[in-house]
């Protein structure tokens, strides 16, 4: 046996590994393994996710809110009979649209287009209101105005019948319909809203965000105004939140920090909301409320436009208690004007 071994080793001396070479190769292999480990550690992203692999972590919206002014009002109430004049008056009372929109801004306007109802029924943002706000944005120097909403019903039908498609075409606005790839997961530390799919595409390039909502009765949460308006940005089977409607609506004040919100109270859907269907449900109130605090704006809307007791609107109280807005609108710096 030993003779045989000797013969084998001596027959291939050139293939044997010397001590030096062995150590060298060991060192190189060790260095490669260590390098791989360091590279993997460097590239590892704890927050990174791929759908289907591990827990999802979503995006967090940035704040679009303007700087707080101690001089200029944060709430304006304008009374008038024409949308454009009244909205101009409200914005002038706030210090002008130039306070909120600057040259080159990309403005995302979020109307409420939840239903395929004609404008006269006041279930959706009125086309005259959108036209006026878009015009003011362009006058202030906006480079682009985007409008988007995610109605549960057919988006094309809702935008068409509410008259907003025509305004978008006339004013050269970018109308973004929700598509399958328009959504991204959103993360929020809300009371109910934690992680949910969100209509994200309109916000990709937006530098300013304006909420433009009608003031209307709502069968489930009493009223749909500027805070409830953000509901239209959620995707998925969002009706499951109806069980906790006041919690979810108050979460929107946490989710969205808009540049400005405008409540259209020119014609208010007083009953049978949120869909309405009869002109008799609609009451002309000839008022526009604009402001930076959606809770204050809605508080005015509920008490003065829907003419109801603010004590019953739970979601405003929840948001107020969480410090997300001021339900006592009279305590804010406000201005009331006539258009």
């Amino acid at each position: 046996m030993s003779a045989s071994n000797h013969n084998d080793s001596s027959s291939a001396p050139e293939d044997s590994v010397s001590r030096r070479e062995f150590l060298l190769r060991l060192g190189v292999t060790g260095a490669l393994i260590a390098g791989s480990g360091i590279a993997a550690r460097k590239l590892w992203q704890p927050q990174h996710f791929v759908p289907g692999f591990g827990k999802e972590k979503g995006l967090q919206l940035r704040s679009y809110a303007p700087e707080v002014s101690k001089v200029l009002p944060s709430l304006a109430i304008a009374h008038g009979t024409e949308h454009e004049k009244t909205i101009r008056a409200a914005m002038a009372a706030l210090g002008g649209m130039g306070r909120f929109i600057q040259n080159g801004d990309v403005v995302m306007i979020k109307p409420n287009v939840a239903f395929d109802r004609p404008p006269a029924l006041a279930a959706t943002t009125h086309p005259d209101a959108l036209r006026a706000v878009a015009k003011l944005c362009f006058e202030a120097g906006a480079r682009k105005v985007v409008i988007a909403d995610n109605p549960i019903n057919s988006p094309t039908g809702c935008f068409l019948k509410s008259g907003l498609t025509a305004v978008a075409s006339e004013m050269n606005l970018d109308l973004l319909y929700p598509e399958t790839n328009s959504f991204a997961p959103l993360s929020l530390s809300g009371e109910i809203l934690k992680e949910w799919t969100f209509f994200n595409t309109p916000f990709k390039h937006a530098t300013k965000v304006i909420g433009l909502a009608p003031c209307k009765d709502h069968n489930l949460c009493h009223a749909s105004m500027t805070t409830k308006n953000w509901y239209g940005l959620l995707g998925g089977r969002r009706n499951q939140f109806h069980q906790h409607i006041h919690s979810i609506v108050s979460d929107f004040a946490l989710m969205m920090k808009p540049t400005l919100v405008i409540l259209d109270g020119m014609n208010v859907l007083m009953s049978n909301g949120p869909t309405g269907g009869r002109l008799s449900d609609v009451k002309p109130m000839n008022t526009i409320v604009a402001g930076t605090d959606m809770i204050a704006v809605d508080a005015y809307g509920y008490s003065h436009l829907l003419e109801r007791d603010i004590a019953e609107l739970t979601y405003l109280h929840k948001a107020n208690e969480r410090g997300l807005g001021n339900i006592n609108w009279k305590d804010t710096l406000y201005k009331e004007v006539q258009a």
Binding site: P118, N150, T156, K161
Partner: protein
């Protein structure tokens, strides 16, 4: 044993290094290099997750939804846009199978070969809303919703309809050819029963609406027509008040009243409510627990002007023994929370009067009919009204 090439220590073979040709050596280095490049590329691309890249594209599944013989609820996808109409955007929630069945029946362009297949039997429930009238043109396919997905059409309004046992919503939009940009929406909510349909209709009733000659439970509004026909609550909503649009809205309403079958089952109580003194459009239907009483079901209520007072009056029609039991139960309840006294019977009707929480109730029972005045401020007016009703003096 002599030929075995084993080391002297156990069965381990002697290490023999394989000679690697230079070409293979170079090839292996190239492969390793490529792997490193691929790894770096993956690392760079993976640093920023693009949700668009991983989004589920449901349209890619269209080819898998052809109808399966013997299996309901499968049908081709939604029809393509029709001239002058609009289509659902891609992100719109998937429509119920019934709608898809409708498209199939209509031979949708996307249906292709499948369109020639007979629609599944469930398509009966999803018959398209066709209206044979000149001057209108469908803007889109008929939409169908059931109680579970009604929110997809009317969102937060859906629970109100579910409270009255809605079964299905069938709706469609029609453009008005004589008025550019104008349209008329037709909504047909089908309920479990005519009583349920009436209940929802009454809840949304416009007190200022004008009466309709072609539908007793109906009214016209400034922009539409609303009525109950059988178990269906019909809403015809115009886009504007142009004469052409409103004329067609009325024609469509008349068409629907004619086409939908009449059925007034369960509405006997409604018919028994006296018309004299009734405040227009104050009629409501309470399916159960009327006035907090478990025994008061399917109750019709209305308000009446009587001797300068406004009196709420209710009627329930049931089997005589059920009505008698409910009357006794109501009397016992009033006795627990107030004072009760029996009044002399009038024309075969037993009557009691009660004061509960400061308000007066005068309740009668005659055969299978139970009714009376409730929440009245004036006992005398309430009693007089009930006695006159029982004598047939208020009709």
């Amino acid at each position: 044993m002599a030929n075995e090439k084993k080391s002297g220590t156990g069965n381990r073979r002697e290490f023999v290094r394989t000679r690697v040709p230079p070409a293979e050596y170079i090839a292996s280095l190239v492969i390793l290099g490529l792997l490193v490049v691929i790894g770096i590329a993956i690392a760079i691309k993976g640093r920023h997750f693009d949700p668009n890249l991983f989004a589920v594209r449901t349209d890619s599944l269209n080819s898998t939804i052809a109808p399966v013989v013997g299996k309901d609820q499968t049908a081709p996808s939604q029809a393509a846009a029709q001239p002058g109409g609009f289509n659902a955007a891609p992100a719109a929630s998937s429509k119920p199978a019934a709608e898809k069945s409708t498209n199939l029946a209509e031979g949708s362009p996307e249906g292709g070969a499948e369109a020639s297949t007979a629609p599944p039997k469930s398509a009966v429930k999803g018959e398209p809303l066709e209206i044979a009238l000149a001057g209108i043109k469908p803007m889109s396919d008929t939409e169908f919703y059931d109680a579970d997905n009604l929110f997809e059409k009317i969102d937060g309004r859906a629970p109100a309809y579910q409270g009255f046992n809605v079964q299905q919503l069938r709706c469609r939009s029609f453009s008005v050819l004589a008025a550019a940009g104008s349209f008329v929406d037709v909504y047909e909510y089908r309920f479990d029963s005519p009583v349920d349909a009436f209940g929802m209709f009454a809840l949304e009733r416009d007190p200022k609406g004008g009466s309709l000659g072609f539908a007793p439970d109906g009214y016209s509004g400034e922009m539409g027509y609303f009525f109950r026909q059988g178990a269906v609550y019909v809403q015809i909503i115009a886009s504007d008040v142009k004469p052409e649009t409103m004329a067609l809205a009325r024609a469509i309403a008349q068409n629907r009243a004619q086409e939908l079958p009449a059925d007034d089952r369960g509405l006997a109580g409604r018919r028994k409510l006296p018309a004299e003194g009734m405040i227009a459009d104050s009629v409501t239907f309470v399916p159960e627990n009327a006035q907090g009483q478990a025994t008061l079901k399917e109750v019709f209520q209305a308000k009446y002007k009587f001797d300068g007072a406004e009196l709420p009056f209710f009627i329930m029609v049931a089997a005589p023994d059920v009505a008698a039991q409910a009357w006794k139960s109501f009397q016992d309840f009033c006795g627990k929370f107030g004072t009760v006294k029996n009044l002399p019977a009038v024309n075969g009707g037993s009557i009691f009067s009660a004061q509960v929480f400061g308000k007066w109730k005068v309740v009668y029972q005659r055969d299978g009919e139970l009714g009376g005045v409730f929440d009245a401020a004036d006992e005398t007016a309430a009693q007089t009204f009930v006695e006159k009703y029982l004598r047939g003096e208020i009709k």
